[in-house]
Subunit: 328 residues, 2 copies
């Protein structure tokens, strides 16, 4: 399986390493818009052995020798920016798996762009899928699948709690750990603390349950240190932020039917991913320790490829293609 | 949605009740081979209000007025018996959802019959799906889906433990509770204690992981009372069976890569359904309290209908159609 990797940020490079680990998968071409990367060896950029794949400056240049079987697109998070990139790839007739968060379920928030991509994918005769661990799995596809055993569903609640104490320092900074509350508020206002995808996850669940959401909320607040916390990387005084709490509420007829809780902080007592379905029967499913987002996002992107290749053409979500799984 | 219900045993009648509860679903026709049921009202047979649907003696008679959108087939557990029934339904061009255990993954143990059904379904232009809670979900489709987040999978273990203390007496009898060990052995030999499906579940997982199973085992043993157990329904002396333990082992190159543990007994300390994936990352996912098989089997059968109707034609498994979910 020959893969065209587009976007060589930290995620794209990690995916390149994951591909190198897996028999049967090969990165046959790589593209990034950063001129400093043009011509450099992908394997070396990713911190590994030389791969013989030189970074190309455009998709046309990358596919000139061999047409890849699939493109892995890890560039941007929003539909407005990803759509022309997808259209360019589809012009070459290449199916796409992308980690673009808003692509995971664009049918409500960006329905016109979604229809444009869907039409282009159908014209090209291939499928396009937005995936990832969150959005894409833990807070949408997995809880949706768990409702398969239910004769009735009243509410869906998903909780993703992570202790960031032993995570990478960039992750700790990303969740606002160590910030004074006014700094936290400032970063919240400029959007840099925001995890993209809660709204998409709620809309995917609602679509499948047959619920019409009349309102969604996406609320960010700090987790605040009660006492001073000292880690290898930082000291957090009492009253400062240890991390972020982000809540998604999906309302149907004025009542919260979908509740997504994402909380990542230093000193969080327990890491876990939990789905609670208030229904018949009631389902409470918990992944102890939680799922590491970095590893899982790369893995699910690669694992999705066979189902994208088997899919009917068009823009798909994780509940439109057959259940994704590991394969060897 | 008009449903043709074929097979009016306890499961078929319970499904009829579940259909009656759900807006948008209607049992438009019902068939059973038992002459005592011919002409009787389905709703009354199911213990509810009259439905206006009289039990027909044949599929041809049942569909003469209106062609149903889908057939729900709850008759037998084995491929040899279900195949001609499926072929008869397909001759009318009707898609099928069945609870037949061996149909959940027939591609190894009954590959010729599977190919026959697949060809007939394609000729009819509709899909045929074997589903259920176990096999069909808890021990195969769900663990397979959970591997989506893994870069590597070494082993898959699934544990289904149930305390039968508060279950229906027929269920307690079915699992051998209260039997002397020689009686248990006798019932084990005559096959009446056996839960059908562990082998199919292992084969489904292996197929998706890309593993070639060189051997599967399906081992039944009694759970034995250490002390006397007194319930509303029975007294179990020490040394007698409180229930059944059934283990599925799937070997790849002589090593167990798939382990399925099903244990149902009176006095079982904890009821739960657990999936443990030894991989990168390691995943341990547990449904506390477990999933009630009676409710869930009926629910998942109805919930599968939309994905069967959307599917490409042919014989499908629960990991070939898009993820099944509740809908309203």
């Amino acid at each position: 399986m020959n893969i065209l990797q587009i976007g060589l940020g930290p995620l794209g490079l990690k995916i390149a390493n994951f591909i190198a680990e897996r028999p049967g998968l090969t990165t046959s071409a790589a593209v990034d818009k950063n001129p400093n990367l043009f011509g450099k060896d992908l394997g070396e950029l990713a911190g590994g052995k030389p791969s013989g794949v030189a970074v190309a400056s455009s998709i046309s240049a990358a596919v000139v020798k061999n047409k890849p079987d699939v493109a892995v697109l890890t560039t941007v998070s929003d539909m407005a920016s990803i759509t022309p990139q997808i259209e360019e790839i589809l012009a070459h007739g290449i199916p796409i798996v992308s980690t673009c968060e808003e692509l995971s379920f664009p049918w409500e928030a960006a329905s016109e762009l979604a229809m444009r991509i869907d039409a282009a994918a159908k014209a090209a005769g291939v499928a396009v899928l937005g995936t990832g661990i969150n959005p894409g799995f833990l807070m949408d596809a997995l809880p949706t699948f768990l409702t398969a055993v239910c004769q009735d569903v009243k509410t869906v609640t998903v909780k993703r709690y992570q202790n960031a104490q032993f995570r990478r320092i960039p992750f700790q900074k990303k969740i606002g750990a160590g910030l004074a509350l006014e700094q936290f508020e400032h970063k919240k206002q400029d959007g840099s603390l925001r995890h993209v995808g809660l709204t998409q996850s709620m809309q995917l669940i609602a679509r499948r349950m047959g619920w019409k959401l009349d309102k969604t909320e996406d609320i960010i607040s700090p987790v605040v240190a009660k006492n001073e916390i000292v880690t290898d990387a930082m000291t957090i005084p009492a009253g400062y932020a240890t991390g972020v709490r982000q809540i998604g509420n999906g309302y149907v007829n004025g009542v919260v039917k979908i509740k997504l809780e994402f909380q990542a902080s230093i000193g969080e007592p327990e890491s876990y991913d939990e789905v609670i379905i208030d229904g018949t029967p009631r389902i409470q499913s918990k992944i102890a320790g939680g799922v590491n987002g970095d590893v899982a996002t790369c893995a699910i992107t690669l694992n999705a490829i066979p189902q994208v290749l088997r899919s009917t053409p068009g823009l798909k979500t994780m509940v439109d293609v057959a259940p994704v799984s590991f394969y060897s």
